[in-house]
Symmetry: C2
Subunit: 484 residues, 2 copies
C-alpha cells in the first residue's frame, strides 16, 4: 500500500492535532473555561458513532443504560476512604445556591461510584437482584492542576462512559472483569485502535480497587495514552456502602463489584492514530459521512452532472451508506477534496461529464488517496468493498504501529535510550518491590505501566531472570513508558 504523507503528523503531532480538531471542526477549544471544549456538529456526529459502538457492545453483554445526577453530597464522596483520599484535591465543589450557602457541599462527580452505590444498596436485596450491570454516559469533572490538553487532559470530561456491576461471588465478579476486558477489546478493535492491556501496579490502581487493568495505546509522538480501564473492586465499596444480598442460607453477604470506564480519549486516539497530513482518516463504521459525492462541473453540464450525483447519492443512501453531496457553487473541486480529506471521509466519489458518457464514477479512497474508475452498475458493491479495504488497512497500520513501538530492554540504560529515541513502551524484568519500582521510574524518567494482562488472570510470573533495576531476582515482566 502507498504510505500516506505523515510529515506534519509525525514531526509536530501536537500542532497537527490542534489544527485538525479546529479545522474539521471537531472540538472548539476557545471556550473561556480552562480544560473544557465544545463538540462542534461534525465532531458531535463522530462522537455519536463512537458512542453507538460502545452502547452496542455493552447492551449485547447485558448492561442497561441509566442516568444518575451530577451532584454528590460530600458525606457520600468521602465514604470510601481510599477513594476520597485520591480525589479530594481535584473535586469541584458547589457551595452556594444563589446567594445561600448550602448546608451540604455538593461535588461535581469525578466518577460515580459514590453516587451509584448508595442506590445499589436500595436496589439489591435478594440473590435474584444479581448480577446488576448498569452504565451511563455523562460528563465528569477533575480540577486538573497539570497543563490541560483538548480531549486528553481536561477538567470537564464531557464523554465518560462508566459501567458498574455487582455480583454474588468473587468468581462471578472476576468473570465480569474478564467480560469487561473483552467488551473494551471489541470496542477498540471496531475503532481500529491498537492497544496493550496492562495490569497496573498497586500504587497506580483506581482508588478503592483491588486490581486495575488498563488499555493503553501509543500516540504519534510516542507517548502512551490510557484509553480505558477495567477495575475489580472486590468488596471494599460494598462494605463502605453496605450493599448486601440474602444468600441461600438466609444470611446477608456483601456483593462483589467491578467498574470500567472509557472517555473521549478514545476519540482523541481514533483521530490521532489514523490521521495523516491531509487530516482525519476514519474507519468506515464511525465516519459521520462515509462517502461524499463531488460534482465536477463545466459550463453547460451543471444540471446533468448534478442530476447524476443525486442519483448516485440516492442509490448509496438506499443501501445504507451515510452519504453527502457537496454541491457548493462557490468552491473549486480541489478545495472540496481538501475539506473532505480533512474530515476523513473514507470514500470520495467524483462525477464529471465524461463519467456520464462512460456510465462510470471515480472512487478515491481516503487512506491511500488512490483513484479507481468504476462502472456505475457496480457502485454499491465497489464502495462497500473499499470500506472493507480501508478498515483492514487501518487495522493493519495500527498493528504495525504498535509493534514498532513496543520494544524489549535488558537494562535501565537501554530502556531509557529506547524511550528517548523511539518513544512507545519498553518491557523489562523487575523484582516486584515498590521502592525498586520507584527508583526505576526515576532513573528511566518514565512510568511503570504494569504487567501484561493475561486472559487467564495470571500475572505472568517469571523465574531465572534479573531485575533491571536492582539486579536481584526478577519475578515479573513490566512495561515502562512515558505517558500522558
Amino acid at each position: 500500500m502507498t504510505n500516506p504523507e505523515r510529515k506534519a503528523w509525525s514531526q509536530d503531532y501536537s500542532g497537527w492535532f490542534h489544527k485538525v480538531i479546529a479545522e474539521v471542526p471537531i472540538y472548539d477549544t476557545r471556550y473561556p473555561v480552562k480544560g473544557t471544549g465544545i463538540w462542534m456538529p461534525f465532531g458531535y456526529r463522530l462522537r455519536k458513532e463512537v458512542l453507538r459502538i460502545i452502547r452496542e457492545e455493552l447492551e449485547r453483554t447485558g448492561h442497561e443504560e441509566v442516568l444518575f445526577p451530577l451532584l454528590i453530597p460530600d458525606y457520600l464522596l468521602s465514604k470510601e476512604s481510599e477513594h476520597i483520599r485520591d480525589f479530594e484535591d481535584e473535586v469541584y465543589w458547589v457551595t452556594h445556591g444563589g446567594k445561600t450557602p448550602l448546608e451540604v457541599k455538593l461535588a461535581l462527580r469525578p466518577t460515580s461510584e459514590t453516587a451509584m452505590y448508595p442506590m445499589f444498596k436500595l436496589w439489591i436485596n435478594a440473590y435474584s437482584d444479581l448480577p446488576l450491570r448498569v452504565f451511563q454516559i455523562v460528563n465528569v469533572f477533575r480540577y486538573e492542576t497539570k497543563a490541560t490538553r483538548p480531549m486528553i487532559r481536561v477538567r470537564e470530561v464531557s464523554t465518560f462512559k462508566e459501567a458498574h456491576t455487582a455480583h454474588a461471588t468473587r468468581e462471578e465478579a472476576e468473570e465480569q472483569e474478564r467480560i469487561g476486558v473483552e467488551v473494551y477489546s471489541k470496542i477498540f478493535e471496531r475503532l481500529k485502535i491498537p492497544f496493550l492491556r496492562t495490569v497496573r501496579p498497586d500504587w497506580d490502581k483506581f482508588p478503592g480497587a483491588e486490581r486495575s487493568i488498563a488499555f493503553d495505546t501509543v500516540m504519534p509522538d510516542g507517548k502512551v495514552l490510557q484509553i480505558g480501564t477495567v477495575h475489580f473492586l472486590g468488596q471494599g465499596f460494598a462494605r463502605a456502602f453496605d450493599i448486601r444480598y440474602m444468600n441461600s442460607d438466609g444470611n446477608y453477604e456483601h456483593v462483589w463489584q467491578t467498574c470500567y470506564g472509557i472517555s473521549e480519549r478514545a476519540i482523541a486516539a481514533l483521530i490521532s492514530i489514523h490521521g495523516d497530513d491531509h487530516g482525519l482518516v476514519l474507519p468506515s463504521e464511525v465516519a459521520p459521512v462515509q462517502a461524499v459525492v463531488i460534482p465536477i462541473v463545466y459550463k453547460g453540464s451543471e444540471e446533468e452532472v448534478l442530476k447524476r450525483c443525486k442519483e448516485v447519492s440516492e442509490i448509496l443512501k438506499t443501501s445504507g451508506v451515510r452519504v453527502a453531496i457537496d454541491d457548493r457553487r462557490d468552491m473549486t473541486p480541489g478545495n472540496k477534496y481538501y475539506s473532505w480529506e480533512m474530515k476523513g471521509t473514507p470514500v470520495r466519489i467524483e462525477i464529471g461529464p465524461r463519467d456520464i458518457d462512460n456510465n462510470t464514477v471515480v472512487l478515491v479512497r481516503r487512506d491511500v488517496l488512490k483513484k479507481t474508475p468504476v462502472n456505475l452498475d457496480c457502485l454499491v458493491e465497489e464502495v462497500k468493498r473499499l470500506f472493507i479495504n480501508i478498515d483492514e488497512e487501518l487495522t493493519k497500520r495500527g498493528r504495525e504501529w504498535m509493534a514498532s513501538k513496543v520494544r524489549e530492554a535488558e537494562t535501565v540504560d537501554q530502556a531509557k535510550s529506547e524511550l528517548d529515541n523511539n518513544g512507545g513502551v519498553v518491557e523489562l524484568n523487575w523484582c516486584g518491590r515498590t521502592n525498586c519500582g520507584e527508583e526505576l521510574e526515576r532513573t528511566i524518567d518514565a512510568r511503570i505501566l504494569g504487567v501484561p494482562f493475561d486472559k487467564n488472570g495470571a500475572e505472568n510470573h517469571i523465574t531465572g531472570a534479573k531485575c533491571a533495576g536492582c539486579n536481584e531476582s526478577a519475578i515479573k515482566r513490566i512495561r515502562v513508558a512515558r505517558s500522558y
Copy 2:
C-alpha cells in the same frame, strides 16, 4: 371505545404519578440530593425514544447538534442584565477546586445563552455564516426554593433540549420563531400530548427575550404544565455579546436571535396524560417495548408454546417491531399482564396451547384492554393496525381532554369558580394593563398564561368587549390557569 379505569389517576394524580414512576420503574426519586432523580433502565429507554423524535424534528429543519461545557464563568452569566437579574437567585455556584478557591466563580448552567453566545461571536463574521442553528441536550440546574416534584420541578433538569439560532434580519428570525413553534407542535403531536400555544405576558417572558411563546398542557389534576417555550430574542443578547456579521455594504450589524427549549416535563406529560389506573399507556412510537409476547403454559406444553412465542417474536422483530418475550418461570401470566400494563406496552400477545392448535394468537391492546384473537398469518398486519388504532385513540382522548379543560368566562367570579371546580384553563377579556392583570391574578388566585398564539403572529386584538378585571375596554383575550 371503552373508557379506561381512571379512578386513582383522577382522584389522586400525585400519588398515581409517584407510584407509576417507581413501579415501572422510570425514575428513582430516592437519590439523596433534593430535586434530583435517577433515570432507570426502562425510563431511560422511554427518554431515548422521546429524544429520538425531538432530534428527528430538529435535524429535519436544519438544526445541528453540539455540546457545550457545563460551567459558565460569573462574568459571562451576568453580561445580559435582565437575564442575570432573573437567574441570580437560583444559580448553583462552584467556588472551589479541591481546597483551592477559584479565581472566577463558575455557575452550573441554568440555560446556555451566556455559554453559547460568546462562541457565536467567534463563529459568526460573514453573512454566509448565517443562519446559525444549533441545539444541545444537556442537564441544567436551578436552585429551586419551592417544593420540588419529580421530573416537573427539579433542581437538576436532566434532560434539557435547547436550540439557539442567529439570523441576519428581524424577518428571518421571526420566520425561525414560527418554525420553532411548528417543530414543537410536531413533536407534541407525535407524542399525542395536547397543547395550547400562548404568548406569555411581558412580565412572564424569558429574561432577555422580546417575546415568549409557551406550550402548555393540562395535567390530570387540572393544573397547567408548561412543556415547551419558543423565545424571540431580538438583538438584546447580540448586543450584550457583540455578535455581528458584515452586511452587503461592508458594515457590521448585530444578529437577530431565537432560542427554544423542551425538558423532561414533556416526558412527565406523556406519562400523565395518557395513563390510567393500570399504569402507563404509551403511544407506539415511543414505547420502549411495543409488543410483549406472553406464553400461557400448562404442564407438558411448555416447550411447544415457548417455541411458538419465539417464532412470533422473530416475525415481529424482522418487521421492525420492538418486541420482548416474557418467559419468566416464577411468575403467573396474570402478574406478567400486570407488569406490562404498568409499563404501557401497546400490544400484548398471549399464546397458549389452544392457539397453537388454531394457528392463532390473542392480541390485547393497552388503551382499552380489549382482546382480539387473530390468525397467525395476519400477525404483523394486525399488530401494526393496532398501533395505529391506539395512537389515534390517544390523540383523540388528548383532544377531548383538552377541550373539556378550556372554558370561557365573562367575569372574575365565573373564572374562579370554573378553576375551582374544573381546573384547566379559562379564557377572559382583558384591558391589557399590567396592574389590572396583577389584580386579576390575585382575585382569581391563578396565573395569566397570556394571549392565544396566532400563526400569523397577530396578538388577536378584540374590540367592543369589557375587561373582566376592571370593566374598561378589553383589547385582548387572555388565558388564566393554575399552574405548576
